[in-house]
Symmetry: C2
Subunit: 458 residues, 2 copies
């Protein structure tokens, strides 16, 4: 039963399992205690910190363990912003950061701070010069840039940005949740966050590194543990397992990355060849080795996920943190790409080639099944022109119905004529222009809220 959602949570790595079991017996006591069980726990904690710091590329005393990647991000951003409050209260981040960064930014704004969001290309990457220009604006307390995007796999120009931020004297926090298993983050970043269950470590462990010399003022109630930066009794068995598995996956990372990269190439090509009206999104070259995302016209993502699940494939759609909200993912929105029928495939360590091949065999029928159930057009309408312009009322209809209705009638207006789609599902804002791009029709614009005008050009 192939699981293809490693970017959400990876199954436990055998080394993590082994280390966890061993430290359940050795590492349950309080490492702050002076008796033998405490000393043993302290030794395990120190060793785990050293191993993790080596993998991150920082000093052990720069690294603390948090209860999750989300905690690392919340804590890192809040602490860095508070420490530079005198400099200013401006936070800069890319438009495609993880929700933990965006929620921290919202909390910052609610507390009186300001935020500047740097847009991304249609591949999902910031332009390094654009990002640095924003970061260098006076009053910027902190800049945040992910190492790689969690939804589309695109790498960000983190190294270049880190150098420029250092020159500008602005600390850079890198959310490395998706990439740390594959290798360290290059460049002189100031803060770094990560999450163990993304690389096959256990749940319950995040990393927060704060380089020496970077000002940091932990927020919230004080606590003496983890250098005062992460409160609560440390989850030591999980921490030990996290550090051990990070080292283990790193030892195999280059070979496994090459293998998975080839499988992802195979998916990119196979999806395009096997599924009509599909858009593979994200940077085709500067990307994570194991992750590929595509969107299927006239398809509702949730139905497609169910169809694939019925065939035994576990994949995700849109953002992991927005999937329950029914709004299109903020990442796809920022990229301006098709959001309907969105599927993210993220291969776990050791994913089997035969599973990938079977996925490619199963996918076309799964997509066709959803399209059929939704009454999607199989080709452009081509009926008798009904007049120079048509209005399609898709109010109250959910994605992808508005686009399907548009596609059904575009042939009913003459070349030069227009179709106006009325739709209140916000996905239409993304998907109608994307459809126009895929079909070579002209997107005139949203003339008023929820009123989308398309001109037939062919």
């Amino acid at each position: 039963m192939p699981y293809f959602d490693a970017a959400s949570a990876a199954p436990l790595h055998p080394v993590a399992r082994q280390a966890l079991l061993a430290s359940l017996d050795e590492g349950w006591a309080d490492p702050a205690r002076l008796y033998r069980e405490g000393r043993r726990a302290r030794m395990l904690l120190d060793a785990a910190r050293e191993a993790a710091a080596e993998s991150v590329g920082c000093r052990p005393d720069e690294l603390v363990f948090t209860p999750s990647g989300t905690h690392a991000v919340h804590t890192g951003i809040a602490g860095a912003l508070a420490a530079r409050r005198r400099v200013g209260r401006r936070l800069v981040h890319s438009a495609v950061e993880h929700s933990s960064v965006l929620h921290s930014a919202d909390a910052h704004v609610a507390g009186g701070g300001s935020v500047a969001e740097v847009p991304v290309s249609s591949y999902g990457a910031v332009d390094a010069a654009d990002f640095v220009r924003e970061a260098a604006v006076e009053g910027t307390a902190l800049a945040c840039l992910q190492s790689a995007n969690h939804e589309v796999g695109t790498l960000q120009p983190v190294e270049e940005v880190a150098h420029a931020c250092r020159e500008a004297g602005v600390p850079l926090l890198v959310d490395a949740a998706q990439s740390l298993g594959w290798g360290p983050v290059a460049g002189p970043w100031s803060l770094l966050t990560a999450s163990a269950h993304k690389w096959g470590g256990p749940a319950g462990v995040g990393l927060l590194a704060v380089r020496k010399g970077v000002r940091f003022a932990a927020q919230g109630p004080a606590d003496e543990r983890e250098a005062g930066r992460s409160p609560g009794f440390v989850n030591l068995p999980a921490v030990v397992a996290a550090a051990a598995s990070l080292r283990a996956v790193r030892a195999e990372a280059d070979a496994e990355a090459a293998r998975l990269r080839a499988l992802v190439e195979r998916i990119r090509a196979g999806v395009r060849a096997g599924v009509p009206d599909v858009e593979v999104v994200g940077d085709p070259v500067r990307r994570l080795p194991h992750l590929v995302t595509f969107s299927c016209l006239y398809v509702d993502g949730e139905s497609l996920l169910h169809a694939l699940d019925a065939e035994g494939f576990s994949v995700s759609s849109g953002s992991s943190c927005t999937s329950s909200t029914l709004t299109p993912s903020h990442v796809l929105r920022a990229m301006g790409v098709l959001s309907e029928g969105n599927v993210r495939v993220s291969l776990p360590w050791g994913a089997a080639e035969e599973d990938v091949e079977r996925f490619l065999r199963v996918l076309p029928d799964a997509v066709a099944g959803v399209r059929g159930a939704l009454g999607a057009p199989t080709e452009a309408g081509g009926g008798v022109p009904a007049g120079d312009s048509l209005v399609v009322d898709a109010l109250g209809k959910r994605c992808p119905i508005p686009v399907i209705e548009l596609a059904k009638v575009i042939g009913d207006v003459p070349v030069g004529g227009t179709v106006t789609v009325l739709a209140d599902d916000t996905a239409a804002r993304l998907d109608i222009p994307a459809w126009c791009g895929m079909r070579g029709q002209e997107y005139v614009g949203e003339t008023e809220e929820g009123r989308y005008v398309v001109r037939r050009t062919q």
Copy 2:
């Protein structure tokens, strides 16, 4: 090798271990996902929540899992205070709460709130009427009272206080970290917090229950997990293990409590019989079944811990959260009891009677060894009176030296004469009056800071 520090962290219960192992394979995926691994994780999470809620005595939708007991306290206090900000910004708590409560209170004061601390008796319990009087003061947003004290084991009158708080319309948060394994907290409390590794569950799991109808506004960056009250990917295997082990320890709690209560009685009697100049502190009746604390005159706690560790006994001294700070525990201070040579014995589930007996055999020599090394007096001085008054300069000398110096010269002044001790170790403020009480001498007072006057009365 007997471990007698269960109040700090209990070794993993066999049921916790078994549940943890099972759910490592079944519960690593994201429970928010729709595919089978996610659904399986969701089922495990729902079942764990139901089991834990049943043990707590609340509805499943009133309970969230947090990364630690400390997180539960920080989150619970911040959320309850914020939700009642219009009512007022006053926080009431007992003087002997866990440091996570005190640190939350400090953060509240730093943010402009106010705090009222309710004193405790020499047994460490609040008077219910005193507590309720403070809680009922207008502008009180929240009252916090532990179910049982973590250092001396004294039970608080939580049920009575909960009823009165409900009548007064003031929410009560009960920190049940030390008692939840032994039984549910009675009474109509509003919020409850606990920590799994105290009852033999794994590290990395706290509980926060917020009863329906209690106003609550989660603070910090938003996150959709755990009803918006505990951010980050849930540590599901640990959560499952926590719930399963809570149920397991509850099934044996009455029988084990009776057994350990008898062993603690044996320690209380054995310590008094075997060690001269010892004070057993905490309520002798209304107490946790497994915990006993005593203080030894003329002994330095850390040396005694090392001596006991060398004999194979793991015990703690003072508060778990203040032991590294060299100041006497705030709990012993609030109780006004002797703090020097303080030892907390907290028996884990299944503690063996023969280990307790060996502890009682070993303890007198361990105490005598430390006293000998410190040059403690074996009896009151009794030399030729040197005059009506004496001054002992113990500045720069750490506890228990000031008390030892006092004891050495008290016989050198006549009955009615005074000894003045100069000491800058803050433990003297607690230990010199305590010594006077134990020796039947009169404590005149601290006439100026660090200047303690004692009158010889016998």
